[in-house]
């Protein structure tokens, strides 16, 4: 049952061959057995999950079920879910029971999906390995000595280990795509503004975007159909008509122009990664796609630009955690300034504090123009590169991450090495473009490689269609981590 895709499970639920309660129980029991090993989940609430499952079964019984009705979905602990502990992987929110639902959570609930549990993540989504969590590191189901990527590592590992058929994550600089790649699953970061940010705990507001994680492109489309949509409570939410993200699933890839940015294929990525990505490009050729060389000359500046903009926005977004209205408050303090300093010093981990310090510095008096404004200007150059490239191709393809999963602890003391992991994923966030990662092979150690597809604005359906055609021709996405198939 846990090996089935969302689409398959949905069909079985619709045919009443399976109940949501059975399905939810099954996943909960798997989680109970395996979570210790992977540390994917921070919070489980069996009663709440089963309550939703029962409601979903009742809905199915009346024939009013939708695709996701009764499907258990894991939620990254960055989404506020009413009545659920919502920690964002931080001690700062280790006691925060959310009094409200994020827009995405509301939509999932309205569709009858079951909240399976809240997944582990890098603290405040700051990290590429899911090691900065207050709740301990997540482990990669393909090799528990390695990281699953981050920051949505708990969601990625849960889907990879078949502890959940699908999950939701967020992506600020690659936090959906990079863990999807390292964990051997599919993940989509939509066009900025397509998924509401309301109730999604902010890291870097101009870059953050929620998206689905699952095992097939088709499942991503089903999740997108629920997650996407206008929300009046998010000023940056786009007012667009309802869209069926599965509408191009059946469409042939023939004739599609795939841009291969020179910079994605230059030296930098591990040979095993390049080999798998090149094989995937060849597969696209077999599907009748054309490949064109394109260039993103400013791509190499993405990481430096990101490490000005994201910390700057974060330093301000995280100022609300002051121990006054909710969350952690230091147990002892002399006065108000001391309360602030101790609460924030004890409540945040070092990666978060480091980024707050960087962000505060680049915004501070006398440095703003040289750092922040300059970074915003270079950001535009990067966005223009994409605009140029998309004049010549329909989608862009390349590696998601320069390496496969690295070992736990390997990059924890070297932030810059850690940051460079996101070199291929950050550009899409800076430009606001949709990007996805799908499995496209394995390295010699048996660790998965991800193929990244970046589309033009609102090209999600097109990208999902292409990915689906690829998945019809390949079986990388069907591979199961050792010990997870039984």
């Amino acid at each position: 049952m846990h090996k089935a895709t969302i689409k398959e499970l949905s069909a079985r639920l619709a045919a009443r061959k399976l109940s949501s309660v059975e399905l939810t129980r099954h996943f909960l029991s798997r989680i109970k057995a395996l979570n210790q090993k992977y540390n994917c989940f921070i919070t489980l609430d069996e009663e709440a999950s089963l309550g939703q499952a029962e409601a979903a079964d009742r809905l199915r019984a009346t024939g009013r079920g939708q695709a996701l009705t009764g499907i258990p979905i894991a939620q990254k602990d960055i989404f506020c879910s009413r009545g659920w502990l919502t920690t964002c992987g931080s001690k700062m929110l280790s006691n925060f029971v959310s009094p409200y639902d994020a827009h995405v959570v509301e939509r999932l609930n309205a569709a009858g999906a079951v909240n399976l549990g809240k997944t582990n993540m890098d603290e405040f989504a700051m990290g590429s390995s899911s090691e900065t969590s207050y709740y301990g590191p997540v482990r990669n189901p393909w090799d528990v000595a390695t990281v699953p990527g981050g920051s949505s590592g708990g969601s990625a590992a849960a889907v990879a280990a078949r502890l959940a058929p699908g999950a939701i994550g967020t992506d600020t600089g690659g936090s959906i795509r990079q863990p999807a790649a390292l964990s051997g699953i599919c993940g989509l970061k939509p066009t900025y503004g397509v998924v509401s940010r309301y109730g999604m705990i902010a890291f870097a507001s101009s870059l953050d975007q929620g998206g689905p994680m699952a095992r097939t492109a088709e499942d991503l489309a089903l999740l997108m159909n629920v997650m996407a949509g206008f929300d009046a409570r998010d000023s940056t939410s786009l007012e667009r008509g309802r869209e069926d993200y599965a509408r191009e699933i059946g469409r042939q890839a023939r004739g599609l122009k795939i841009g291969l940015p020179r910079e994605f294929f230059a030296e930098g990525a591990a040979p095993a990664v390049m080999k798998a990505v090149e094989a995937a490009v060849a597969e696209f050729g077999k599907l009748g796609c054309e490949t064109v060389d394109v260039s993103l000359p400013n791509m190499r500046l993405s990481v430096p630009v990101y490490y000005v903009l994201a910390p700057a926005e974060a330093s301000s977004n995280l100022a609300r955690y002051d121990g006054v209205r909710y969350g952690f408050r230091a147990p002892e303090y002399a006065d108000l300034p001391d309360l602030y300093r101790k609460t924030r010093s004890q409540g945040f981990g070092w990666e978060v504090k480091r980024r707050i310090l960087i962000g505060t510095y680049v915004l501070s008096h006398g440095y703003y123009d040289a750092y922040y404004i300059q970074a915003q200007r270079v950001r535009r150059l990067i966005a223009r590169d994409f605009a140029e490239a998309f004049k010549r191709c329909d989608v862009i393809a390349g590696p998601t991450s320069p390496t496969t999963a690295f070992r736990l602890g390997e990059k924890m003391d070297d932030p810059v090495r850690m940051y460079l992991n996101d070199i291929y994923t950050i550009p899409a966030n800076l430009a606001g473009l949709p990007g996805m990662s799908i499995p496209c092979g394995f390295d010699a150690a048996g660790l998965p490689v991800g193929l990244q597809i970046v589309g033009n604005y609102f090209a999600e359906a097109r990208m999902l269609g292409l990915a689906h055609q690829y998945q019809l021709a390949t079986d990388w996405h069907r591979r199961i981590p050792p010990g997870c198939d039984a």
Binding site: T86, F96, A319, T360, Y368
Partner: protein, 496 residues
């Protein structure tokens, strides 16, 4: 040495919208603590701001009223600092690109007009309230006010005295109420000012070091704080010292300003464009629509009062100081005209209108203003309505009342006598002027007969004697005769 005080004001007008600047909470004053603070206001993790269209419209309205430039595109920025009543750790404000730039406000000080230039006006959200008094060791935080829309209006340093500053603040206060963007309630903090004060040797064109004085929530405090601060700075400079640029707090109890102990770093606000809020665009068509809905502005109304009602410039200016006075005047004048027309068949010709208008103006600037001052009331709270005043004026115009009796009726109306109805009061007090000429002729002839010496004096050219005869008649009628009519009769009867 002779010193000149240079002042610029930053006024915060709370915009009178129903809901907050960035959330759907109510803005009503006086609610129980934190009952009007929603998830957005208390800055729960994950919440986002969405700006209030009406607040933007009101800012545009203000810009149009002061002849400023309305920036078609403006930017909301975050002003970052930690304070317990600032839930997000930043205030959303406008920094580099405010919605309103430039504009002017005209002020009058002792009848002299002066134009004060505005630098800008921008939209921002208010903070919550810190309550220091309720607990011994704690400060209580009430976030009901958090995210209430404010328009911060910044003047150029064009003011040269505390009196000018007060005149400016009053003009601004009147204007924001005039165009209905702020209720102007200073006790509730709906309109508050900070003053930037510096001094310099008279004739110098360089600005001195300024101090910003906060917490000026009445015109009186504004005046006293500036006076104190200017004196303080002059004393320091005359003693050879120098002024430290700082923020000072006005302490009304001690009538002094004192330094707020803030660290220098507190001023590194790290402004940057709020990534949650896209550029604010104000379309030309929207500005056009707001312009159409604008009430007539004080300047235009003043000119119109002079042209249409032939009011003296002074009357027109004072009547248009606040929309309350202006509206009262126009209503009372029109109602009086209507009643007079019905009763006397007089047409609305200009001379008649002008006479009625001047009479109304005299009443408003005279008895009504005096009574308002005495009872410390705003004109909107006056116990005598424009309609009630009009009824009184109609009785004066149709000779039922003379000046003196009219004043008596007015006082009675003010106290609510007779339900505030002029006719009822006249009736009750028997104040109806004697206009029956037969009756008056009889009294006049009696007075002439009883005062032969005055009659002789008058006939020999002593005008004073005539006045005494009029006085006698008035006394006999208990003041209910029209003095003009009495004079007429007496002159006719005494004519050689």
């Amino acid at each position: 040495m002779k010193w000149e005080t240079v002042i610029g004001l930053e006024a915060h007008a709370q915009l009178n919208t129903r809901s907050k600047m960035f959330s759907g909470s109510a803005t009503a004053f006086g609610a129980a603590p934190n009952t009007q603070a929603c998830a957005v206001d208390i800055a729960l993790p994950g919440v986002l701001p969405v700006a209030n269209r009406e607040a933007v419209a009101k800012a545009v309205r203000f810009g149009l009223a002061v002849g400023a430039r309305i920036n078609r595109r403006s930017i909301f920025a975050r002003k970052n600092y930690f304070y317990p009543d600032l839930p997000k750790g930043y205030q959303i404000s406008q920094y580099e690109m405010p919605i309103v730039q430039g504009g002017t406000i005209g002020i009058y000080v002792e009848g002299e007009g002066k134009t004060i230039r505005l630098t800008r006006a921008h939209l921002e959200e208010d903070a919550g309230k810190s309550l220091h008094e309720s607990f011994h060791d704690f400060t209580g935080i009430d976030l009901n006010r958090a995210s209430t829309p404010l328009l911060e209006i910044v003047s150029e340093p064009d003011l040269r005295s505390a009196r000018e500053a007060v005149a400016y603040a009053r003009a601004l206060h009147a204007l924001v109420r005039w165009i209905d963007i702020c209720d102007g309630n200073m006790q509730e903090g709906s309109f508050r000012c900070d003053a930037n004060v510096s001094v310099r040797p008279a004739g110098s064109d360089r600005l001195g070091t300024r101090c910003e004085i906060k917490n000026l929530n009445s015109f009186r405090f504004l005046e006293r704080a500036i006076e104190f601060e200017a004196r303080r700075q002059i004393e320091i400079l005359e003693d050879g010292g120098s002024i430290l640029q700082e923020t000072r707090l006005y302490d009304a109890n001690r009538d002094e300003t004192r330094s707020m102990r803030t660290k220098e770093e507190a001023h590194d606000y790290r402004y940057f464009p709020d990534p949650d809020l896209l550029p604010l665009e104000v379309a030309e068509s929207w500005v056009g629509k707001i312009k159409m809905e604008m009430p007539e502005l004080p300047d235009a109304m003043r000119s119109r009062f002079v042209t249409d009602y032939q009011l003296p410039e002074y009357d027109a200016q004072v009547l248009t100081t606040t929309i309350g006075f202006a509206t009262y005047f126009e209503q009372a004048t029109k109602l009086t005209m209507d009643m007079t027309r019905v009763q006397t068949g007089m047409e609305g010709q200009k001379p008649v209108l002008s006479g009625v208008a001047k009479l109304t103006s005299n009443w408003i600037l005279g008895a009504l203003s005096a009574s308002l001052n005495e009872s410390a009331l705003e004109i909107e709270q006056a116990p005598v309505s424009p309609l009630q005043l009009a009824k009184l004026l109609a009785r004066q115009l149709d000779q039922t009342l003379n000046n003196r009796t009219a004043k008596e009726v007015f006082s009675a109306m003010w106290k609510g006598e007779g339900g505030g109805d002029a006719d009822a009061i006249i009736e009750r007090r028997g104040l109806k002027q004697i206009s029956d000429s037969g009756e008056l002729e009889r009294i006049c002839s009696d007075v002439i007969a009883a005062n032969p010496s005055q009659v002789a004096d008058y006939r020999s050219g002593k005008e004073k004697a005539f006045n005494s005869l009029v006085g006698q008649v008035m006394k006999m009628t208990m003041g209910k005769a029209d003095p003009r009519q009495v004079s007429e009769i007496l002159r006719r009867r005494l004519a050689p």
